[in-house]
Amino acid sequence: MKIIIADDSSFVRTIVNKLISTEFPNAQIKLCTNGKEAYEAYIEMEPDWLITDLLMPEMSGQQLLSALNVNGKKGKYIVVSADVQKGTKEEVESYGIVKFINKPLNPDKLQELINLIRGE
């Protein structure tokens, strides 16, 4: 399984990476610090899952999802963001995301993330 984790916070990348590596030891994980890196990695890897923040430098999560959409990519995306605005949620849901998870990531939300990847 191939997974991209895009977040400009190394704190968040570390938590999510550690958890996924433990739960899915054979997963190939690519860590990205912004949307642009994630976009390039996506084109190269064609991952099974993209877990992305929204507020990132260079290219935001919204721009990343929009660019993937324009390119006809229909992947499985999970958004993990601190943004609580209804308008933002509606916008990213229009890109066909699997789930919008609000930060901060607590044990329940991390478990939800794992369950989604497991297909539960």
């Binding site: 704190f11 430098p57 601190a82 609580v84 933002t88 901060p104």
Partner: protein, 206 residues
């Protein structure tokens, strides 16, 4: 600028927004967070008003700020005394805090990264709910976290570019350390008027 009834309703909303932010902070720090009832003031920085108390603690501070824009625009800031900010980082990382002498105090990249994420969550929560209240969607800038030394007389200069300030004074109390933080929302005249119009609309419906 606003009457007592408007201020009361504004305080009520801010209470809820800050309460949600505190709940998020509690999740990050894995500790109970107790908040004081926020004090709300609208300050015109162009006038030499006497403020009821200092804008924020002077000395070494950690200031995180995020710009937000669209129909409702301004700048949101979260300010902590620097040493307290370090306590908060340690709590979030599940580490024991140690007393450090002033001359030895410093923050490393990881500290700034955690503080950036904390301010991202807290300021998004407060401003995002204002935006929901006003039926709009704002865009945020990446939080800018700085360690600064601000003297008492420099406080106003630090904020001089912003005309109207919606000041939200809050005191975050974690289980181990009393952390006095302040959330400041700086608004231009148009955005402040939008907020007051919404408050009036809600008061009219009551």
């Amino acid at each position: 600028m606003i009457n007592e009834l408007q201020k009361d309703l504004l305080r009520e909303y801010i209470n809820v927004f800050i309460g949600q932010a505190a709940s998020m902070l509690s999740e990050i720090a894995n500790q109970r967070v107790i908040l004081s009832v926020p004090e709300v003031e609208i300050v015109n920085m162009a006038e030499e008003e006497v403020l009821s108390h200092n804008l924020f603690s002077h000395g070494h501070i950690v200031s995180s700020s995020m710009k937000f824009g669209n129909e409702f625009s301004g700048r949101a800031m979260l300010i902590f005394p620097a040493k307290k900010a370090k306590f908060l980082v340690d709590a979030c990382m599940g580490m024991e805090s140690e007393e450090v002498l002033d001359e030895e105090f410093h923050l490393i990249d990881t500290d700034f990264d955690v503080l950036k994420e904390i301010s991202n969550v807290i300021l998004n929560s407060v401003i995002g709910e204002f935006s929901n209240l006003l039926d709009t969607t704002v865009e945020f800038s990446i939080p800018d976290v700085e360690l600064l030394f601000v003297s008492e007389s420099e406080q106003k200069m630090y904020l001089k570019n912003d005309i109207y300030m919606l000041m939200l004074y809050t005191s975050f109390q974690l289980a181990e350390a009393k952390i006095d933080g302040v959330v400041i929302v700086a608004l231009g005249m148009n955005s402040l008027n939008k907020l007051i119009d919404k408050i009036n609309e809600i008061l009219g419906d009551i």
